[in-house]
Subunit: 390 residues, 4 copies
């Protein structure tokens, strides 16, 4: 990233008590090329100020609303104003700030799922195209180096044509009615007004869908979902099991759960081809298991010299010293940031720098969530092919 | 087992080149209480003789047909004739010998799936009842000590009411058309005339169904199956994914596969209750993982003093010295054998001795296989509740 | 094993309450080629009779003493008398029966460590040579198929010249003074009169030494041992850590422990060569890990088609269905039994049939135990090269 | 950390091609409370400038020598000058800059091993005391949350008095003569002029020693080391195996290796007490295994609510989302930074903020390294008790 200053960004959301905002700030800081300089951290101006003070920001750049931030930052001189915004609010508050900042000429990093409706998702696709903005959606699991290696192994053909995908993302933390007991993270995720049509599929299943699509390149043709709400009083599903028909004949199982005690963030994927298979596990992400029909299975280790270009490019420390969630998440910022610098400096981003989830990925995810809800309501298979606006 | 002689048995099937027959013979021998004395090992009398000679059997008790064996053994004096028969033929050849030996007054050990039709399965249920025979179906995976412990943990309530079951049994050995290349084990398993309506579900899925039912006690109400044949020219499905609604509201995912390269016999079950969960893995069967909402997870080890009565009763060697497939399989013979001795000596079998899969378990399994085929053909959910004849 | 009858054997030891006797009986029975027909199961004739009755033996062949058994069996006609004896008594009672049965013309299977003194070990070497007997020492861990594969990988040179060996065998069951509380298995193992000069090294360390030597072929030149007795009142060491200089320059660490809580039978070996390394773990014995300087590591699975001849020959069931301790132990009986049949029938044993631990292995083990005790007492390095009588 | 500005620091070392300097910069940045503002990155002023430019530093604060940096920074006004220096040079270049910055009134973060001689280490102890400086040695592995939990479990007595410690740190990357082939990281680590008296023990063994001492609190009384140089032409040992007698009677095995192919950074510790044991593994650091005499073993997961205060305080993200090497390393900076702020603001550091390795830890480590070298040369046990200057 040849650039004579750090990228500057502002944050929407991420106030006191939030979780993912702090993650975005850590991962943006890690490589020391991106600097937080502004924020509208909360719908409460008081809380926004409090958060800004804790972050040692210039109080003039801590705003009461995202609209104010978009407008005032746009009016700052070049080199002083932010280059991009990070939107880390609950789902229902992604669309409006994304639209506002795109229209004000900023690049955008946005948390997932991108929007609560397909219509909003498609409008964002159009806005990104119109403004030629960089838009990165933080489906952070594709930032893991060995996820990139898995994708490359499927592309290079060594495992043959894909026949079956099994991807799962169970959690257990919503096994009890935390949402009814005032726990903030649980409340909004199970509230249709803030989470959208789905809780479990929106929060977890969309990551699983994105991971499977990133690694395999397969597109869904039909799906059959079984959506269940186990915890009494909860208004959205907390468990979701999906059978999938991919275009071209591959089959899939995708499931997500919030009521599986003892499961933490057990995102795991297995892909079976005609000649071999691979398995990757988010909770132990520095290893990629590759298996064959008639040879010993192999374990690939992050940081090793025998890995491919992408796996190497997104690695910070040598093999055997584990990288984790934050480093993978930071890779979304690294790639998107490099692409922004290229745009700002009039250069062309390197191919590896374009390796981050886009606004189109976001639209596919939102469509997927809605299709699972539709299937669950109907009780059977539904057509689910979807192509987002370019 | 207080009995002044060894139990004697004969075998139907298990001739040269067979696989499971040799397993039955090893596990029957392990505890030194059961003796092979007769056999109709092949539909070819010559091969039957050859097998009998290799097993050092008295040639007079090596028969050309199972009918001959049933008849002649029945005519031998008490203490000399066999006590039971083990039927280890391909699926389509279970029913006829089972019927013949039951009618000739013998107890039966039979391989799974029990029959190729529900009608035959139900007839066996009635015959077993009529003749008051001991009938053991070798769903061998329930013989593992920690599978018994898992069942007991779910019964004793520590994990709360069950919400979700995920059981899987992938294999990869049929990824290529071995069946078209003359490989005997592959041929009959994919031949509708010998395997019945299903290959993958019959061979593997029925084990998964039995394991889940044994551990959880849950009964299936509805299911939705996705059955696929991947290998060109194959006549039965080689991959099967099933969503399940259990009676009482629990949800399930059950899948089996023969085209998952690198998977060997990766039967694995996870059961999630309201308060905790457990996981067991056939390929590393000496450990049972128990997880909770708010406590460190636990690993239970086979052979440990803190285990329950059933897990202890079906263990042969101390903790840390792994037991495997044969010992678990032998537990079916041990329990059924003890029950036979009780019947023969007029005693009452101990509760633990009744811990083996019965003819009713077999009928449930056959019904399940047929329901998955029906659902797969229809493309959606089907009612699948089934109660076998007592 | 072309032989027209089963091999017959008698047992010395293995009476009520014993552990390893029952193991020997199970593993001898597993392949249905070896039959228990006689025994002197206890120093108490009453207990010997009781054990014989439980095993359904002919009471005439249940003896009060091993001397009586050796003498009377020797007098029985060919085809009726035993072919070999299995000695499963505590350590101090291996030598006398081994000598008696060798001199009476029988083959011998003997538990380890072979004797309590080097002199006795060497006398057995000479007796075996003199009587041209088959003598198998049950260092059972070398019976695991993947241990054989590990040996073959080191022989075939793919891992380069060996530089370092780390072998460990921790247990925890003697962490408390069970021996002072009347627990039979603990009592004799910590009693110098019955166990010999060492408890931990004799019981566990000798297995580790044998395993390392079997796999690597390396011979010990010098060693430095740290022997500790942690449990108050215990008379022999319950923890032993050893540094090793092998001939040719390789280095080793070998340790054993009886006071490591939570460790069961955690025998594990890692061997590092110039070009690669391997690791095998007794508690999960169906996998062999092979690692390289610049390639992904590999996992070899028992039962796979890509394994070598020895690993295949000593495997009973397909890959993914775990084999365990009993099957590995049974491989000692299988190999030694086949060699006995060759001797009896005047044939030549196949190379694979000679793959069992010999009387010379036993002598090397006894010497090793004594050298560690000597080093521990001295507090430093001692010369430990040893060559047993041929 | 209540402080109205970020802590400012300068770096000595960490120029182009260096490894650990980049790590220090990432981990210092992670929490956004510490800012790099100055540096003497290389003994070559040109390379130092190049590195400063790449880091977007003010060129006026990029210095040609560390002496110049110490002097000039000391002359800058309060709030502008650095608060501390990070020394990330090869071993022989730790002492001089540490001394210079301590004498100039700065706090110090220093890489390990602290110095190449015990005399230098002790002088640093005295200087730190004299100047009342904060001095943090980056034995980064003690920054892992579950390492802190392990320490707390041993302190709270649940595992009983410690009997045995097994700590190992094998690597394989120096299996071939990389140092003779111009690889920079290999060159200085095997060069006595830059690494000191030891390569393997200094680089890896000192981490193992520190980890074991941190977790157990045990002090070494005697040790017996076996030091070997396997790669021809190498001037320092590349493999080291040590037996240890701890004060109070516990026993230990500590080993480190650079010639163990396939091993990456396999730092692992097992501690056995009278009543239980624990195991932690750096390559999978989010899990702590606790085992008992008579209960199922437990797995503690980083981020869980049931963990203790220290484990929680040094965790950034929820359970199931893995943290790794960088986060643990950053915990050294977090604690030391908080302590510095307390000193600067005249406050008292919280107990948890003092949880970082000190100059005394560094002196103990340097003494340990020298004692292993002494023992290896002598070939036997040496007294190794050591108390650093307060």
């Amino acid at each position: 990233m040849a650039f004579d200053r750090k990228l500057k960004y502002g944050m929407v959301g991420g106030g006191p008590g939030a979780f993912i905002g702090g993650v975005h700030r850590m991962v943006a800081a890690l490589d020391q090329k991106i600097e937080l300089v502004a924020g509208a951290f909360s719908s409460s101006p008081e809380k926004s100020r409090q958060q800004g003070a804790e972050l040692l920001l210039d109080p003039k750049r801590v705003y009461g609303t995202f609209q104010e931030m978009a407008e005032k930052e746009a009016g700052l001189p070049d080199g002083e104003r932010i280059d991009f915004v990070s939107i880390v609010t609950p789902n229902h508050m992604h669309f409006a700030p994304a639209k506002a900042f795109l229209e004000a000429g900023f690049h955008v990093v946005c948390d997932k799922p991108m929007t609560t409706t397909v219509e909003e998702a498609e409008e964002l696709c159009r806005l990104v195209g119109k403004h030629q903005a960089v838009f990165a959606l933080t489906h952070n699991y594709t930032g893991y180096p060995l996820v990139k290696q898995a994708r490359d192994f499927l592309r290079d053909g060594r495992l043959g044509r894909i026949r079956k995908v099994v991807v799962e993302y169970p959690q257990g933390w919503l096994s009890t009615p935390l949402d009814a007991e005032g726990m903030k993270q649980a409340e909004w995720r199970t509230d249709p007004a803030r989470a959208g049509v789905s809780s479990c599929m929106g929060d977890l299943g969309s990551h699983a869908e994105n991971l499977a699509r990133y690694i395999t390149g397969l597109e869904i043709e039909e799906l059959c979902a079984d959506m269940t709400t186990f915890v009494p009083g909860r208004r959205l599903e907390d468990d979701a099991n999906v059978l999938i028909h991919y275009k071209g004949g591959a089959r899939g199982i995708l499931y997500a759960s919030q009521i599986s005690p003892g499961e933490e963030n057990n995102l795991r994927i297995r892909v079976y081809g005609e000649a071999g298979a691979l398995e990757w596990h988010q909770e132990n992400p520095n290893y990629l298991h590759v298996r064959y029909l008639d040879r010993p299975s192999e374990v690939y280790t992050r940081g090793s010299g025998y890995l491919g270009e992408a796996a190497k490019a997104f690695t910070r420390i040598p093999t055997g010293h584990p990288e984790g969630y934050l480093e993978a998440f930071a890779n979304i910022y690294r790639a998107a940031g490099n692409t922004m610098v290229a745009r700002i400096t009039g250069g062309k981003p390197a191919a590896l720098d374009l390796d981050f989830p886009t606004v189109q990925d976001g639209a596919v995810g939102v469509s997927f969530i809605h299709k699972t809800v539709e299937s669950g309501r109907k009780g059977g298979w539904v057509k689910a092919a979807y192509t987002p606006p370019a």
